[in-house]
Every structure is written in structure tokens, then in C-alpha cells.
Amino acid sequence: MVTRSQTDRSLLSRIFVGPTKGRTVRRSIFFLLLLVAVIGPWIVTHDPIRPDPFNTLAPPSAEHWFGTDRLGLDIFSRVVAGTRTDFTLALIGVLLGGGLGSLMGAWAAYRRGWVDTVLLRVVEVLQSFPVLLLGLALFAALGSLDIFEPFLFGPFDDTGKVVLTIAIASVNFPSYLRQVRSVLLPLTDAEFVQAAKCSGLGGWGIVWKHFIPNARGQILALFALTCAYAIQIIAGLSFIGLGIEPPHPEWGAMIREGATVIIQGKWWASLFPGAAIALSVYSLTGFSVGSDTPIDPASPSS
Amino acid sequence: MTAAPANGALLTLSEIEVTIHTATGPVHPLQGVDLEVYPGETVGLVGESGSGKTMTLRSILRLMPPGGAVTGGAIEWEGRPVLDMDPDELQSYRGADVAMIYQNPVSALDPMLKVKRQIVDAFEANRNEADGDPEEFARSTLRDLEFGDPEAVLRRYPHQLSGGMAQRVNIALALACGPALILADEPTTGLDMTTQIRVLDLLERQVSARNAALLFISHDLRAVARVSRRIGIMYAGRVVEFGTRERILNEPSHPYTRALLECVDLRTGERPRSIPGLVPKMTEVYELCAFRDRCVSRMEVCDREPLPRCEPDERNMLLCHLGYGNG
């Protein structure tokens, strides 16, 4: 009897026990950010995408609270507008990948055998790509395609956003699958599962009625963390010029803009969007069961 | 306080109380445990789950779970107060004076180390060169414990042992320390019935061959009765009756002891007996008798006064308003 998976599981549960202090603060910040994302258009002081060529790279002032960038765009307004962009994409990407991953993870844990083996192989392949390179490859493949054109709507008003969402989803799919699977694996032979079989419940019935509810705590814990991580990935990809193109307001792209001038001492152009990312990540960790670690694909999780 | 106690007891527990602070509030698993063990004798403690058996053993070794502490009473080892020992004294007391055999034999062995290394380490931590060669000791002890090929067992890792083998290796580990008292925490609970008796008999034989005392706990009165000269019955964090095996089995005085005996002994043609009601929650401290809600002999005084202690001699003890001789 190899107890490796068992020790790893209890190890994970221990990682999830962290400090609980400051959670209220973090949650308050989160709801504030959420509010900003919703009412953003009404609280901006300037149009976030209309440049002011006579007022470029102005330091923070009463007129431009966070200063302006190289094109003369108001950074405060862009940070506010970026909240909605980043939050929406992160949420949809995580819901997509996480939902599918959880379901498949529960299915793998229930069926075991070849289903489990195949799904694990898929996950291993996906996880052997570093996150950003996976994004890079996806952009290389899909970025120049116009097949998404007819479907662009609402938050997905350009191809870059669609690809970003796909990237976020494909990063999250393996993490959720592995986590949910490893939590549920010991339940495959649990007596209550046998009892459910005795009462005539089929495979998907057991997955849906017993497996998913028993992994709910883990899924919810993972949800906040992966959203935080997703925001970092979106910003990271935009930072290297993939994803959201300027002048669309997006934090990572703004930092990229600001990076070129920071050596000249113009710090405000990249400081404020970066702080917004850090604040979002920090506030989201207030929702986890206790851990503050984004589930890194590199962490041993099965 | 180094003088040996007047009654010659090896180990004395008086009014031991333990409190564990958990996330949901304090729990009081021990609420005044009294216990004496004399040199070379075998004592058994019986109780249902949650009665405080394991916690009693852990308090003797001062190995408390996180958040737990001995909050009252005194433990004396040959007259020395165990609760006042400094870390060095404690380290030499553990093992050399008192060693423990654990309930789950496989998890009590370090998974990364071979059996030989574990026995040798336990031997060397507690003995000196005058006691002979540790490896030779390991081999001969395993032979005593009816291992056909001790050498092969010594080369194994814990996960390569069956439950019965791991339990015997645990016994060897405790013996390697050369203690005057061995604590055994349900050592045969997970084993097959036909194996249980063998392991029990081996344990008893080896302990008595080394003139050590044995404190054995189990939920199964029959197992305790097989190895113990004196038996204590635990309920809700206290020892409610203590006496010789004959006395406990033949003339039990506490209503709980009597009820427990009836539950164990199923007779054909009769309805199986049980004790109605639930085991009390240990989140409370019970000043009065904790058994009175389930007791068939409940009296008016039980709801009014704390339990009296009847101690006709130093080998018998009873915590009940009924007193002795009401059977």
C-alpha cells in the first residue's frame, strides 16, 4: 500500500490552514474593488481612452490624481476602468476552466481506471507548459485568427480577450482537476458511495450529488486563489504585449507602457496599475479557507 | 521529594485533570483520574470510546496533544513528581522508566527507517554498554516474540510488516528501552481475533519475564481480563471502580461496571443487554456523578452531592454513592 497520495492530501489540507486575521479587511477591499468594477464608468474623472497630447507624462496632481502616461491618458481613470476588464476576464476564465476541471476531476476520482489515467495524462501535458508559454503558444495559434469575429460580444469585444480567457481556462482546468480528484479519490470506496449505489444512483448522479458537494470546500477555496492568480496572468500576458492592446484599459498593458519611462524616474505610470493588481490579489486571498497561495501548477497536488 | 512513597507504588496518579483547548472551546477529557501501579503488576483500564483511556496514558508520559495540558492533580514516579520534571529529566524518564506501545502499530513506526535502526536507537537512548549489544538484543527479543526469522524482519521497513508483525515490533521497541512500566494502548484492537490472544499472551509473558509492570487499556473487558491482575473501569474522564480481577468480574460494585459486564456477556435465549442513553459530552466538567442519567440505581443523593470515594484498601477503590456490597 503506497500511502503517497494520502500523505500529500493531508499535506494539502495543512497548507490550507493559514492565518485568519485580516480577513475582514481583505474582504472589504475586495467588495470595494468589485464596486469600482461595476460603477467604474461613473466615477472616472476623464475618458480612459482619449489621449491629451498636450499633457503627457504629467505627474500626479489635483487634475490627474495618478498622473498621465506617454499619450496623455489619465491613469486614474484607466486604473478604474481596468478593474472591470481584469475582473471580468479572470472570473469567466476561471469559471470555465475550473468548472470543467472540477467536474472532470470528480469523474476521474469516481471512475478511476483508464478514464483517470487518460485525464491525468492530459493534465500532465497541459501542466508541463509554463503558464506564460502556454499563453504565448495560444496567442501564436489563435491570436491572428478571425474565427472569433462573429461571436465577439459584451466583454469579449476583441480576439485578444477571447484568447486570454481560453488561456486562463486552460491554466485552471488542470489545477482544479488535480485538486478535486485528489480530495475525492479516498471517497471512491467510501461506504456512503456504496450506499448510494445500493439506492440505484448511477455514475453521474453520484458525481453530482455526492462527489461535488464533498469537494465544495476545496473548490471554493481554490476559486478565490485562482481568480487572484488569473489576474496576475492576464496582466503578465498583456505586459509582454499579448492579450489586450492599448488603448484598452488593462493593468498589465499599462505597466508595459509605464515600464519604458520608469528608468527616467516617471514612476506613476506603472506604480498605480501594479498596486491595483497587488491590491486585488491581496483582497481575493481573504476568501480562501486560509491559504494565500495561488495554486501553482508547479506545486505537488496529487 | 525523592523519597519513595510509603505504599511502594511505582506510579501514582492523583486527581489528574486534562484540558484541551480546541477551536470550538475547551474539552475536559480527564476529570480527576486516580490510579496506582505497583512494581511488576499488570493493571488494565477499561472504558468506552471517549472515556479518557488514551489521554491517561499520554498524561503519564506528558505527551499532550496540541492545545492540551495537565491542569490539575499530581503524577508521581517512585515518589518523584513527573509534572515538575525539566526536559532532561523527562527525557530520561521517558523510555528508561516508562515506555509505550501504540494502538496503531504501523503509524507509530518511522516509515523511512528499517526496523533494526529503530530498535537499536531505542536501546541506545536508554541503556549503556553493560546491557550488551543492541543488535544482539534486537535479534533475541524478536525471537522471544515468535518471529521465525528475526534477521529478515530487522531488515524491513515498517510498511513491509503485517499488522500483527508491526505490533510485535512495537512491543520489541518498548522492551528495548528496558522500562519498569510498559503502557499499552489497545495493542490488539486492529488484529484478527485468533492473533489477538497470541499477541496479548506474548506481551504478558515478556513483560513478566523482565519484571516490568504493565498498564494495559482496552475497550474490551475480555481482553483486559485476560492479562490484568487489577482492573480499573473508566467513565467520563474518571476511574469509577478499581479492584482485583476477581472482584471486578465476580462482584462488581459500580452500576456502570455491572451494566458493562452484562453488555459483554451475550447469553443465548436472552435479549442482548445495552446501556441506554448517551456517553456524556466532555465539554462539561462533572461535579456530580456523570453516569447518573443512565444509572438504574440512581438515588436522590446522586443529584445533590459529589461522588464519595470508598477505598477499603489500597488495591480497591469505588466512586459511587452506593458503596460496596450493594450488588
Binding site: C198, G200, L201 | I197, P272
Partner: protein, 322 residues
């Protein structure tokens, strides 16, 4: 006889394939040639230690695992080979009570919803109000306090949960309930209560029990017929009186002695590291073993009244320890 047996098991066998490392696959025979019959409203006890295959038999009876060979006939209908859809009407007839009451309830659901599950799935013929009424009826029949019905399993004691588990098994009105070590993880003070309850419910619900246990005392109280298993084989079969009063097989004798903790007169040797796959399985541990025991033993009638024993010595005359 007008009343045919509710369940008949013929030459049941189950083998597992265990993959050790790449390439090496070992076949483990969990159960071999197990046969028995259960009459309506009666109790059959199956006793044996770990590895005897008694839980595998239970899983085969429930259809949780398909047998490798042999037949399980429920009301004369062979269960093996039925598709899930065809299985459904039969599923209602056999229910199970598991060993660990805490583990047999989904921790995320209330006791009531767990108990209701088989009723809802297996009794489509009943309308919802009828189902609810039946639910109240079975929960009351096991005298589980109404205040506990809507709690999560963690809030109930082992004994209370085992009552709920019995209610769950009885809810769809089965004809046979398999009890897999129903008292093993309970305190001794609760054991009698569960055994009494089972006896009462058997009369009330006219249900047959398969009582699987290593607790011989409990089986003796509840069962009329007994099957003793060792390493996947039936070694002795007979009525309770026959088996307990004059155990024929050495293993049965050792088991009875061990359950009383008075094994001085007759005890088995240590269990080896690998169990024998042929001949008498008990031979390496048996104090009476002779060279003739290394031949394959058959389960043959011994004495009167349908008792069967798998030991050539016991067949020739009563065996007693040295």
C-alpha cells in the same frame, strides 16, 4: 415447499487482478466456491477474520461487484449479467447496512435526505407523500429521535447513525438486508441495543438478514444458520446450534475459543506471510495438520442436518485440540 428461498448463491467465485509493478500481475482469489441459501425472514451469519472474503461476498450479493463465476439467484432470478436498467426492480429487494456508520453517510447531507435516497430512487411506484410517510415510518421504527432527522451525520453518535443506516436499508421495503459488521465499530454498551433492534425489525418487516461479522457472540444471538469462512473458502456450514455447540472444523474451534479470550486449549499458529493457494488453507497454522492435509479439501456433509465441513479429519470424527 411453497416458499422458495429469497436468495440462493451457487459456487460464487471472485478473483481480483492486482498489479504490483510493471508487468507483474497477480491474481488474488478473494472468494472461491461459496454456496448457501437464505430462507425468507431468516438470518444467515457469515463469520471469518480479515481476508476471509466475507465482505466480497456481500458486495457480490448487492451487485456492487460482478462475480467472476457462479450465480446469485434472487427470488429465482439470476442477477449476474443484468443491465443497469433490468437491475433496478431487483435492487430494491436487497439493501445493505455498512460497518462504519460515520462513513456510510454523506457528511454534506442531512440524515433525512440520505435515508430518503433509496426510497426516492427505488420506489417510483410511490407518490411523494407516500414516500414521505414511509420515511417517517421507518425512522420511527428504528426509534431515532425526530430532532435528529435534519442534522448532519457528524452531530449523531455511532449508535444513532447505525439506526439511521438500518432505516435507510429498510426504507424501500427490501426482502433481504446484508449487514456488514453492523456492530464492529460501536461501543459494547450500544451493541446489544442494535442487536435487539435488528431482531424486532426482522419480525416487523418480515425481512431476511445476512449478518456478516467477526463477532461470534453477536452472530450467535441473531442468526439461525452460520457459514464460517477462511481465506475465501467456506470451511464449515450449519445451524447455530451445530456450529457453536460442536464446532467440527479446527478453524471454527479456534475462532470460538478466541472470541471468549480463553484460547489456552486450542490456538492456531501465526499466520504466515503468504497464504497457501492450494490444499487445506489452514494447514500451516493448524495444530492437527498432517501430510494428508496438503491435498485439496472438499466441503462435504458431516454428521446430520445438512452440516458441511471442509476438513477430512473432522469428517471422520470429532477433532479436538492436542
Amino acid at each position: 415447499m411453497a416458499d422458495s428461498p429469497i436468495l440462493e448463491v451457487r459456487n460464487l467465485a471472485k478473483t481480483y487482478r492486482v498489479r504490483h509493478s510493471i508487468g507483474r500481475v497477480e491474481t488474488v482469489r478473494a472468494v472461491q466456491e461459496v454456496s448457501f441459501v437464505i430462507e425468507r425472514g431468516r438470518t444467515l451469519g457469515i463469520v471469518g477474520e480479515s481476508g476471509s472474503g466475507k465482505s466480497t461476498v456481500a458486495r457480490c450479493l448487492l451487485g456492487l461487484t460482478p462475480p467472476t463465476a457462479g450465480q446469485v439467484l434472487l427470488n429465482g432470478v439470476q442477477l449476474g449479467g443484468l443491465k443497469a436498467r433490468q437491475m433496478r426492480p431487483h435492487r430494491r429487494l436487497v439493501q445493505m447496512v455498512f460497518q462504519m456508520p460515520q462513513a456510510s453517510f454523506d457528511p454534506t447531507r442531512t440524515v433525512r435526505s440520505s435515508v430518503a435516497q433509496p426510497l426516492r430512487r427505488l420506489r417510483p411506484d410511490m407518490r411523494r407523500p407516500q414516500q414521505d410517510e414511509r420515511l417517517r415510518y421507518v425512522l420511527a421504527a428504528v426509534s431515532l429521535g425526530e430532532e435528529l432527522w435534519d442534522r448532519k451525520p457528524a452531530a449523531l453518535s455511532g449508535g444513532q447513525l447505525q439506526r439511521a443506516a438500518i432505516a435507510r436499508a429498510l426504507a424501500p421495503d427490501p426482502e433481504l438486508v446484508v449487514l456488514d459488521e453492523p456492530t464492529a465499530s460501536l461501543d459494547l454498551s450500544v451493541r446489544g441495543e442494535i442487536l435487539t433492534l435488528l431482531q424486532q425489525l426482522q419480525e416487523e418487516f418480515r425481512v431476511a438478514f445476512v449478518f456478516i461479522s467477526h463477532d461470534l457472540e453477536a452472530v450467535r444471538v441473531c442468526a439461525q444458520e452460520i457459514v464460517v469462512m477462511y481465506l475465501g473458502q467456506v470451511v464449515e456450514r450449519g445451524t447455530v446450534e451445530q456450529v457453536f455447540e460442536s464446532p467440527a472444523h479446527p478453524y471454527t474451534q479456534a475462532l470460538i475459543a478466541a472470541s471468549k479470550f480463553t484460547a489456552d486449549s486450542f490456538s492456531l499458529g501465526p499466520r504466515g506471510e503468504t497464504d497457501p493457494a492450494a490444499g487445506c488453507r489452514l494447514m500451516p497454522r493448524c495444530p492437527l495438520a498432517e501430510s494428508a492435509c496438503s491435498a485439496e479439501q472438499d466441503l462435504v456433509p458431516s454428521g446430520v442436518g445438512g452440516r458441511m465441513v471442509r476438513c477430512w479429519k473432522a469428517v471422520r470424527g470429532p477433532v479436538r485440540g492436542p
